[in-house]
């Protein structure tokens, strides 16, 4: 506590001196969610990782179009299929002046896989990191892995010396009550330093003049103020009043209002997250259903009938106000080149009815549906629309829409996959199909070993064997072909009903020029003030 107070005093003082300097560009932005712990391994969540990505940096980076670019590693090569070599950038310094070296990479690799880390999956558990010299690191794998570095932009480097001196070797997990230095302060290599952090409320940053890439910097802001504004209406009001330069997300129904205002505009684009419906195909008797003794969803015709019953265009136009892209696959077309080869099943209520009749349910049946009501864009409204559409083909759905905390506690592995029919959204952190196939389509047992987020327990051994081939295939063309085959099988079997990629909506003041990345991450080094 004492530490925190003196820290606050110190930052206040530096703040005071800084304001006396010269005219500065201050960029203020607000987000719906909070930034709590500053430990970059605490929470595997897009916003937290994205924001800390301005302060800390990984070996790789992702550019405005999400392409992988060199970060703290200047270059890398696959020496042999199971040995990767990373050449580190020289002359990089942490904010406290320490040099960035291979020892820090090895330390960070151990730390990110240690107890309490939420980012353990960034590196295979059995991968070994070897420091060849001060600026070369080898990664030794037990099996080939072409997507090893795909999520390394959010696995950031921590200064070994500083962490050891400040009792911060241990990861502060999200449920930790005691704060360590690294959860309250930061020491990265990135273009911004955190000057003041009031966890969950407000965070201040300033530009780092000693950044290694300062010569090529593409931003002109000196200070950044971030605040959490949870209420949609308040957030939009903060933008309208000019208090904030950027707020996100803005609700779809308010986009027009933001656009109508001359001094601000709405920046919209497709997000990578795919929203879909899942069905329990694992239990022998469906929960929450009028059908006893069997599980209708095990019949492919029933799943197909549900698919045919969904009028995706109506959802797009009316619920999403055109801020969504209907999807035929479980991954965004940005991340899968053959997306156009797979088509959605048409909207055809008559076909749905006759399929249900063939399957032995001429009058439909009753089933319960689980739905979050504060997680995705208009999630509850989508579920209600789905319920009405299914009613039209004779299926009576009892909707149970709940806040995300209760919803996830019920439907995920920790709740015993307690659901028959549900709505979920998924963004593969690696921007790659292997993540989608293994997490959402891999066979699992009742405890959730296997496809951990395959809530409905879809299982096809052909898909599983394709998935394990995809993981180790190094040839991009062959790999793409394997992925396409897998998606063709899952689509033919109606394993899931993909709905759409929801849209991003940011409200931006005309004073600010920002780059909206499709993963909904704001990079402050892409911000310019006019």
């Amino acid at each position: 506590m004492l530490l925190r107070k003196s820290l606050l005093g110190a930052t206040l003082l530096t703040g005071l001196f800084a304001t006396q300097a010269m005219a500065e560009n201050t960029f203020k932005f607000a987000f719906q969610g909070t930034l709590k712990s500053l430990d970059p391994y605490s929470l595997n969540e897009t916003f937290t990782l994205g924001t800390l990505g301005n302060v800390y940096e990984g070996l790789t980076k992702r550019g405005p179009d999400l392409q992988i670019a060199p970060g703290l590693a200047e270059s890398w090569e696959v020496v042999e299929p199971t040995r990767w070599r990373f050449h580190l950038r020289k002359g990089v310094k942490f904010h406290n002046g320490n040099d960035f070296t291979a020892a820090d990479v090895v330390f960070s690799a151990d730390r990110v896989r240690s107890e309490g880390s939420d980012l353990k999956t960034r590196i295979p558990a059995d991968a070994k990191f070897e420091a060849v010299d001060d600026y070369t690191v080898d990664v030794v794998l037990t099996s080939p892995n072409p997507i090893l570095h795909y999520e390394w932009d959010t696995w950031v480097m921590i200064d070994k010396e500083w962490a050891e001196a400040n009792d911060s070797v241990r990861v502060t997990s999200a449920s930790d009550q005691s704060a360590t230095t690294i959860s309250l302060q930061s020491n990265g290599t990135g273009p911004f330093k955190i000057t003041d952090h009031d966890g969950g409320v407000k965070t201040m940053m300033e530009s780092n003049p000693d950044w290694w890439d300062a010569g090529n910097k593409k931003y002109n802001i000196d200070k950044v103020e971030f605040a959490t504004i949870a209420s949609d209406a308040t957030r939009v009001a903060a933008l309208l009043s000019g208090e904030m330069d950027l707020v996100y997300p803005i609700p779809v129904q308010d986009i027009k209002r933001v656009e109508d205002n001359a001094t601000i505009s709405a920046k919209t684009g497709p997000e990578l997250r795919t929203i879909f419906l899942g069905m329990d195909q694992m239990r022998d008797e469906l929960l929450y259903s009028s059908v006893k003794g069997k599980n209708p969803f095990q019949d492919k015709r029933v799943r197909e009938a549900f698919y045919h019953a969904i009028d995706i265009e109506a959802i797009k136009q009316k619920v999403m106000r055109n801020l969504a892209t209907p999807s035929s696959i479980m991954i965004s077309p940005f991340m899968f080149d053959n997306a156009s080869k797979i088509a959605r099943l048409s909207y055809d209520p008559d076909a749905a009815k006759s399929l249900l009749k063939e399957a032995g349910y001429p009058d439909g049946f009753e089933v319960g549906m689980d739905c979050p009501n504060d997680r995705y864009v208009n999630d509850e409204a989508i579920c209600q629309a789905v319920v009405a559409m299914l009613a039209r083909v004779g299926v009576k759905v009892k909707l149970n829409a709940q806040p995300k905390a209760q919803y996830f506690a019920k439907v995920l592995a920790s709740g015993g996959f307690d659901t028959s029919f549900y709505l979920l959204g998924w963004t593969p952190g690696s921007f790659d199909s292997w993540n989608v196939l293994s997490n959402l389509h891999g066979c699992r047992d009742e405890a959730g070993n296997g496809g951990m987020f395959n809530l409905g327990g879809y299982c096809n051994n052909d898909v599983d064997s394709l998935t394990s081939q995809i993981l180790v295939e190094n040839d991009p063309n062959k790999r793409l072909d394997l992925i396409t085959q897998a998606y063709q099988i899952t689509t033919a079997e109606s394993a899931y009903i993909p709905l759409h990629q929801q849209g991003l909506a940011w409200g931006v003041s005309e004073k600010a020029d920002v780059v909206q990345r499709a993963d909904n991450v704001l990079m402050l080094y892409h911000v310019n003030m006019k």
Binding site: Q253, K318, V319, K398, N400, Q402
Partner: protein, 313 residues
């Protein structure tokens, strides 16, 4: 027995009612007459909703998402099929209000009956038995009075939902609301009935009943109860309005009736999300209906209190 009374007895209920003080004071208050007409209208249209509503908003198979968010018929872009417009799911606002006030009123009535039965029984018991029984019941009531009713309702609602778990919310929501609102309102009845009972129990007729050896429960139910019912009626009327408001508040907070079968409060909550984007009709019309309903019932309650109060005559 006098001949007058016998005549009245023969003249029947309506004649007696027409001759009563209450009818006299009713006739003299124009506001009360208007309030009564509005109340009857709203109650009637809620009761006969399936007959008079142009659509059935609960029949999901008839809803079309393409008809959603239409403005009222007189606005530009309105559709004559939907007089007051449609909500985000394509439900006709007018029909949903009719069906929704039905749910709101049903919750209100059931909650008031529940609270009244509980409160009257405990109040009678406390007043008549006295002593330790009285102290225990009334201290519980005192403790409960220190919490706002809405907080208690939220608490009960939350714990019941935790125990029941999710999926049957559509069915359970009604009963959960009735119990949580009822439990937060019983104190008023108990207090009123207890104090009236304290007065009544020392009167000669009660003493006489005791003397001839009637069972205490019979004395309480047949002799004391009819004489304490006046104030209870007044409380019940005013509480009906309060219960409807509480239901709307809980539904507005998202813990009440689920949006698949919306009550007035749920409709206001749904519409609230669209207020800033210019789709005002989703929340304004149910809001007006709720306000008028509560005002009318409250006016009736006020009048009843004055009419039944001998000191104001």
């Amino acid at each position: 027995m006098s001949t007058d009374a016998q005549e009245l007895e023969r003249a029947g209920f309506w004649a007696r009612a027409r001759d009563s003080d209450i009818w006299y004071s009713f006739k003299r208050s124009k506001i009360t007459i208007v309030a009564a007409i509005i109340t009857v209208l709203i109650f009637g249209s809620a009761f006969f909703a399936p007959l008079i509503a142009p659509h059935n908003p609960f029949d999901l198979a008839t809803l079309s998402l393409l008809d959603s968010l239409l403005p009222p018929a007189w606005e530009q872009g309105g559709d004559p099929r939907y007089l007051l417009g449609t909500d985000d799911q394509g439900r006709d606002i007018l029909s949903t209000i009719l069906y929704g006030s039905r749910i709101s009123l049903a919750v209100g009535f059931a909650a008031v009956v529940f609270a009244a039965v509980l409160g009257i029984s405990l109040g009678l018991l406390a007043g008549y038995a006295g002593g330790r029984t009285d102290s225990i019941i009334m201290r519980i009531a005192d403790v409960q009075l220190t919490f706002p009713a809405i907080l208690i309702a939220l608490l009960i609602d939350g714990s019941v939902r935790g125990v029941l778990g999710g999926i049957d919310r559509e069915q359970s929501a009604f009963y959960v609301l009735v119990v949580s609102i009822g439990l937060s309102f019983w104190v008023q009845y108990a207090r009123t009935v207890r104090s009236s009972t304290l007065v009544e129990k020392n009167k000669e007729y009660v003493q006489a009943a005791r003397l001839i050896g009637l069972h205490p429960i019979r004395i309480m139910a047949r002799h004391v109860l009819p004489n304490v019912m006046g104030p209870v009626l007044v409380i019940a009327t005013i509480n009906l309005a309060l219960a409807v408001i509480t239901e709307a508040t809980l539904s507005f907070l998202g813990v009440g009736i689920p949006p698949t079968q919306p009550s007035l409060g749920t409709m206001i909550r749904i519409g609230n999300d669209f207020l800033f984007s210019g789709e005002w009709w989703i929340t304004i019309f149910p809001g007006i209906t709720l306000a008028i309903l509560v005002l009318a019932v409250n006016l009736l309650g006020d009048w009843l209190r004055d009419a039944l109060n001998p000191r104001l005559r």
